[in-house]
């Protein structure tokens, strides 16, 4: 079974490279064309954030590609990477900056340092870049979405939003923003059209989001964690929002004290992680599954084309691990030692 999976994988890799070859005008644009980019968060205060590159055939990993290319340290606490055309925008939360690089060569283009306080995610819509920012993470009323001019790389406007804007998605120029809540808590998904903000109420601390194949929005809410028994704990949930009318269509709530923190989507199937377990769920399910498909340490997770990419941050003070699983068998196919605290996987 495993052999079969690897064989099919290699076959698809060959197909991919063939299709590249078929286009004579496409020169390799840089050493990191194709393959995976792994964002390593690093540990706070230690300035050891980094990006790793896994070759398209999964044969090798190169760590520290930003530093290798540009001979300087990336920064402190890498939160996310956003892409626009041939550029990658690496958001460094604690360093409070965005490093702009050529996504294929990783050569530095510029660094955006002005206009952020605690930047989180980067996304391009309507030919402008949007950066979610927590402001002072303890202050519930200074949060904003910064609008970045992609020609001048400067923040040209901000849209005030409620506490802790996190991940963003764009549907036909309309932005959906999950509000994880900063160092406090929040329970909304903002919908931004132009500069108008409306809010959809969901469970507490919405984090991971995706659009399904029919264009509806799925939101993973972590719930508020309080184990003191004082009643502060609120249930996590997977919430489906119809993007036709921006109304909540379905809520699947977790048991108390069981807080999910990862969710990804591939081939009409939802995968979510809670308490060191990963579950698989059909789109039309009306109850949450109880039997995990995987167990282990999962700090980040991304499903794509029949494969599941998970990251293990181990102790956040040593090299982490990227593991790649087959989504049919859940056999692990590959494992790589990454930088410190790998969180996110991007396809380059």
């Amino acid at each position: 079974m495993k052999f079969y999976s690897i064989a099919s994988l290699l076959f698809s890799v060959i197909l991919m490279s063939c299709s590249d070859d078929a286009n004579p005008s496409s020169e390799p644009s840089g050493a990191y064309d194709g393959g995976l980019l792994i964002l390593n968060e690093g540990s706070f205060g230690n300035s050891n954030a980094s990006v790793s590159f896994v070759s398209p055939d999964f044969s090798e990993i190169e760590n520290n590609i930003f530093q290798n290319t540009n001979q300087r340290i990336l920064g402190d606490v890498a939160q996310s990477i956003g892409f626009y055309e041939h550029e990658a925008f690496i958001v460094l939360n604690s360093s409070n900056k965005i490093e702009v690089v050529d996504r294929y060569s990783f050569e530095s283009i510029t660094t955006i340092t002005e206009g952020f306080m605690s930047p989180r995610y980067f996304m391009v819509a309507n030919s402008k870049a949007y950066v979610s920012d927590w402001g002072n993470p303890t202050n519930p009323s200074d949060d904003f979405i910064a609008i970045v001019n992609l020609e001048t790389y400067t923040v040209e406007n901000t849209i005030p939003v409620s506490e802790g804007p996190e991940r963003m998605l764009n549907k036909n120029g309309k932005l959906y923003v999950a509000h994880l809540g900063g160092y406090n808590s929040n329970n909304v998904v903002s919908v931004i059209e132009g500069t108008t903000v409306t809010e959809i109420e969901v469970n507490d601390n919405p984090d991971e989001i995706f659009f399904d194949d029919s264009g509806d929005l799925w939101v993973l809410c972590q719930g508020k964690i309080d184990w003191s028994g004082n009643g502060g704990d609120t249930p996590g949930a997977i919430v489906k929002i119809s993007t036709n009318n921006d109304e909540v269509e379905k809520i699947l709530e977790f048991e108390p004290l069981n807080h999910p923190d990862l969710m990804t989507y591939d081939n009409e199937t939802i995968y979510f992680g809670a308490g060191g377990q990963i579950f698989e769920m059909a789109m039309d399910a009306n109850t949450l599954p109880t039997e995990p498909v995987l167990q282990g340490n999962f700090y980040g997770m991304k499903a794509n084309d029949g494969l599941l990419y998970t990251t293990d941050a181990t102790d956040f003070a040593s090299q982490g691990i990227l593991r790649i699983f087959d989504l049919e068998t859940f056999n692990d196919l590959f494992a790589f030692d990454t930088g410190v605290a790998p969180t996110k996987v991007y396809f380059n």
Binding site: S47, N136, N139, Y183, H259, D261, Y299
Partner: protein, 609 residues
């Protein structure tokens, strides 16, 4: 094994039974605050930092000990949070003892060495090796002692010191001591501030948000009630206001306010064969942490500890002494992330010391604690000191020590684990001291095995503390001291080298931020009223990850200074000191990403009258 060794030493004693007696006189018992450090540490290495060294080495305990002991400091940028690795152990495994009272934070188990103002103490000592029987939780790698002493003679001394240095660093210190043969009152106030905005060498940037200012007050009062009874009172208040600088890769914007106070009342009665000591102490700790220094939002932690202690020491003969001690302490804690919690500990200590002839001493020490929130093992220590000859001294100690779980470990709102056990540790040490002519040489080898170490383990976004880690440390320390008259002046040279292998017992990897090699050295020469000194520090590279995948380079830095004394100028003694730190302008980092200051100067004027 131990038995064999014991007999060996015993036998050796009978072969050579002559020598000196350095028993403690009654006056020592009265003037010193922590007499057990002298009476019950014969088999341990105790380093005393001299007054002149204290006054030459900045204002914080980090600066002082970094250059003058084997201790390694992990300082988060100059003047910022400073934690310690003593003989390869962790930050919570060194106890800081204020006049005999353990002042490590109940909240996180550690002491930030940049929150201790050194000029407020009469003597500072470093006791290497396990000391949990005497000093309780955390005395695993060793303990650092901040002591005040009294002077029962007729005097009225006043001192004023003012210092100014690079980066707008300022220190003012005012102290007086008034004494008669019956009483002594000492008051000592210090104020320190610095912009701490030094440039980062090789960049166009400087240290931002590193400002600090501290206010320190010590009040000590001792009085003979009659020839047998002495009452002593000690007090220290430290108020610190610091911003936390970030470093090369992020700008700090946070602020930390610390308010610590300690008070101790001691009543000591001395009979012919006994000494009875009643001590009553309060240790208060409060901090506020502002993630945004401009905001009024902060998180805080607060603890208040009351300690009642009774100690009875009985001398069966001049050779055999027994100490029995009972202590009860009650600590209340509260904070932003910890509900109101209370810890009550009853502890009993038994110390036996025996001097055989005049050359061989040994001690046996036991401690048992009963606490409401952790189970403590029976702790013990055995130590011997054998004067092989007038010039050669052998020491040995073996001990079992512990570190209790902190309030954060036990009660942190999400993750705190009520079932934690204390960390426990075994250790053994052999030391030798050799004197000849003007040389004093020492060599100490040690082994420390710590188990049940508390480690916070991540699970998704959550962290949970568990007793899962083990650390094995071994190493040695050598010291050399040379003092002699040269060309009519006094020449003093000293060097300390330590070799430390500290590994995680489970992964067999080196611990982060523990250098394998550390060297400190100093040279001083004084001629009449002029003194010059030079001090050097070498610290080896350290790993910055737990799997040895990343390294921070080592560094070597040196300071030079000169002082002039002007005696009895209108009844005032002046001393002027000029010091240049980091003379070779080395670019170095103690923690990754946080550069330390380049070459900088300090000037100091001291008036005694």
């Amino acid at each position: 094994m131990m038995k064999k060794l014991f007999f060996l030493l015993f036998f050796a004693f009978f072969l050579k039974a002559t020598g000196q007696n350095d028993s403690i006189t009654y006056l020592d018992e009265v003037v010193l605050s922590d007499i057990k450090l002298h009476e019950n540490s014969d088999g341990f290495k105790v380093l005393k930092i001299s007054d002149s060294t204290i006054s030459r080495n900045g204002k914080s305990l980090t600066d002082l000990l970094r250059f003058n002991s084997n201790i390694y400091f992990k300082e988060n940028g100059n003047g910022m949070v400073s934690s310690v690795a003593f003989r390869g152990t962790g930050a919570a495994q060194t106890a800081v003892i204020w006049n005999g009272i353990n002042i490590n934070s109940s909240i996180n188990g550690q002491t930030d060495f940049n929150t201790i103002y050194t000029a407020g103490y009469d003597n500072i000592l470093v006791r290497s090796g396990g000391g949990s029987v005497l000093y309780g939780s955390g005395a695993i790698g060793g303990s650092v002692h901040l002591n005040n002493s009294f002077r029962f003679t007729k005097h009225f001394d006043k001192e004023f010191k003012t210092a100014y240095g690079s980066y707008n660093s300022l220190e003012n210190h005012l102290g007086f001591s008034y004494g008669t043969t019956e009483l002594n009152l000492k008051v000592d106030a210090g104020f320190v501030k610095s912009d701490n905005d030094y440039p980062y060498l090789g960049t166009s940037r400087k240290n931002v948000n590193g400002e600090y200012e501290n206010l320190n007050l010590n009040v000590n009062f001792g009085i003979f009630l009659n020839s047998k009874n002495v009452l002593k009172f000690y007090h220290n208040t430290f108020l610190g206001d610091r911003n936390f600088s970030g470093g090369l890769f992020f700008e700090g914007n946070d602020k930390y306010i610390a308010e610590n106070s300690r008070s101790l009342l001691e009543w000591q009665q001395k009979g012919e064969n006994y000494r009875s000591t009643f001590r009553f102490a309060q240790v208060f700790e409060y901090y506020q942490f502002f993630l945004d220094k401009n905001s009024s939002d902060f998180s805080f932690g607060k603890t208040n500890e009351w300690i009642g202690q009774y100690n009875f020491r009985y001398s069966f003969s001049s050779a055999i002494k027994i100490d029995a001690q009972l202590e009860y302490s009650s600590t209340n804690g509260t904070g932003s992330n910890v509900d109101s919690v209370e810890r009550n500990v009853l502890s009993g200590v038994l110390l036996y010391s025996h001097t055989l002839g005049e050359k061989f001493k040994y001690g046996l020490q036991l401690r048992k604690e009963f606490a409401n929130d952790y189970e403590s093992p029976l702790l013990f220590a055995f130590d011997t000191n054998f004067s092989v000859s007038e010039n050669y001294n052998l020491k040995f100690n073996l001990s079992r020590n512990f570190r209790m779980p902190s309030f954060n470990d036990l009660y942190w709102e999400t993750g705190g684990n009520n079932d934690l056990k204390p960390e426990t540790s075994w250790q053994a040490e052999i030391g030798q001291e050799y004197k000849f002519n003007s040389f004093l040489l020492s060599l100490n080898g040690f082994l420390i095995k710590s188990t049940d170490l508390i480690k916070w383990i991540p699970n998704g976004n959550m962290w949970f503390p568990e007793n899962v880690s083990e650390v094995n440390v071994y190493g040695f320390e050598t010291g050399i001291n040379y003092e002699s008259k040269v060309a009519g002046g006094n020449f003093l040279a000293s060097g300390n080298y330590s070799y430390t292998i500290s590994k995680n017992g489970i992964t067999d990897r080196f611990l982060m931020y523990v250098p394998k090699n550390k060297f400190t050295g100093s040279l001083a020469y004084s001629y009449q009223n002029i003194s010059v000194f030079y001090q050097s520090l070498f610290t080896d590279q350290v790993f910055t990850t737990t799997d040895e995948s990343a390294v921070l380079e080592g560094y070597s830095i040196s300071n030079i200074g000169v002082s002039f004394k002007f005696l009895k100028q209108k009844k005032i003694n002046f001393e002027v000191l000029f010091k240049l730190n980091n003379i070779y302008n080395q670019k170095y980092q103690v923690t990754a990403g946080r550069p330390m200051p380049p070459r900088n100067f300090e000037t100091q004027l001291t008036l005694n009258f």
